[in-house]
């Protein structure tokens, strides 16, 4: 049998001048049981190409992928909801914080008033003695001691 055609195709293959159809012919040829000795070494090369096409992903890949896509769709929906509500949450937290601070301040102010009441009690006792009115307070005392100002000073 004349293998000249196959040898020509092989030469075209190495030079990258063979068409896809011609390369397919070579693959078919080398799939045969009987291949001439001088060409037999190339059998494995084309057998490798055939075998390469059979490599596949695991069977459950589709399932896992579609589950992952669905998960990302749900996650996107949840994120949008969160995005819309987050400013409200933040506002609520701030308001809560302000109310808490305000309450603390108010409480401390209330506690202060009870001391004032205590002082008022002292005034009550003082008022019974009329002499209190003649007692100099700190403001009156300092006015007497101040030296006269020179109004012409420029």
């Amino acid at each position: 049998m004349d293998y000249k055609y196959i040898e020509q195709l092989l030469e075209k293959y190495w030079n990258c001048e063979a068409s896809l159809e011609e390369e397919q012919i070579l693959r078919c040829f080398f799939r045969q049981e009987e291949v001439p000795a001088h060409l037999s070494r190339y059998r494995s090369l084309f057998a490798y190409q055939d075998a390469g096409k059979m490599l596949k992903l695991s069977d459950d890949f589709d399932e896992r992928l579609l589950a992952e896509i669905e998960r990302s769709v749900v996650k996107a929906k949840r994120l949008t909801l969160q995005m819309r509500l987050m400013p409200l949450f933040k506002a609520a937290v701030i308001m809560g914080f302000l109310f808490t601070i305000g309450g603390v301040v108010k409480h401390s102010m209330n506690t202060g008033k009870s001391e004032v009441v205590y002082v008022y009690d002292q005034f009550e006792r003082e008022r019974q003695d009329p002499q209190v009115a003649y007692k100099p307070d700190s403001v009156n005392a300092s006015v007497k001691d101040t030296p006269q100002k020179n109004v012409n000073k420029q």
Partner: protein, 169 residues
């Protein structure tokens, strides 16, 4: 005009994407992840499908780029990229088949020792049966560049393979 369906038109590309990713990363698990990531990205671009010239080329481009990124990352982590070793033949296997297996291992190793560009082009041409134009689009090269790289790849395989068979190297 045919409306592109994810299940009918895109999902069936998964094995082709897997084989390319595996050829680049040499890692099955990594290649599977890459296919999943690729298909999710393509899914997220569903508004643009109808405008694409070739959705297959688009998918293969993404897969290849992801695979290159991951293999570079693996390399920087000092993980050795060792091509997957072919399974050792069974001792009970007939001699002819054992020899065939050994030859296949040699070819597998020789291809995987090629630089990535040559490896990818060989994969897309010899195994996936793509024409030069399609390969050029996927790799972002001219058809001439694809042919040059394919030529270098095939010549190298031929040379090395003959060396091994002639001199048992």
């Amino acid at each position: 005009m045919h409306t592109i369906s994810f299940r009918e038109d895109i999902l069936p590309l998964k094995d082709k994407l897997f084989r390319l990713a595996l050829r680049i990363t040499f890692d099955r698990a990594e290649a599977e992840d890459i296919v999943q990531d690729t298909l999710i990205r393509v899914w997220n671009k569903r508004d643009e499908w109808q405008q694409m010239d070739s959705i297959e080329a688009y998918c293969l481009t993404i897969a290849r780029n992801l695979a290159i990124d991951r293999s570079q990352k693996m390399e920087s982590q000092n993980l050795e990229l060792t091509p997957e070793t072919q399974e050792m033949p069974d001792a009970k296997m007939p001699d002819q088949l054992m020899e065939q297996n050994e030859q296949l291992s040699i070819i597998h190793r020789l291809i995987n020792e090629l630089p990535e560009k040559q490896r990818s082009i060989l994969q897309l041409r010899d195994i996936e049966g793509k024409n030069y134009k399609e390969i050029a689009v996927i790799l972002g090269l001219t058809e001439e560049q694809v042919k040059v790289n394919l030529f270098r790849a095939r010549q190298r395989i031929r040379l090395k393979y003959n060396e091994i068979n002639d001199y048992g190297l």
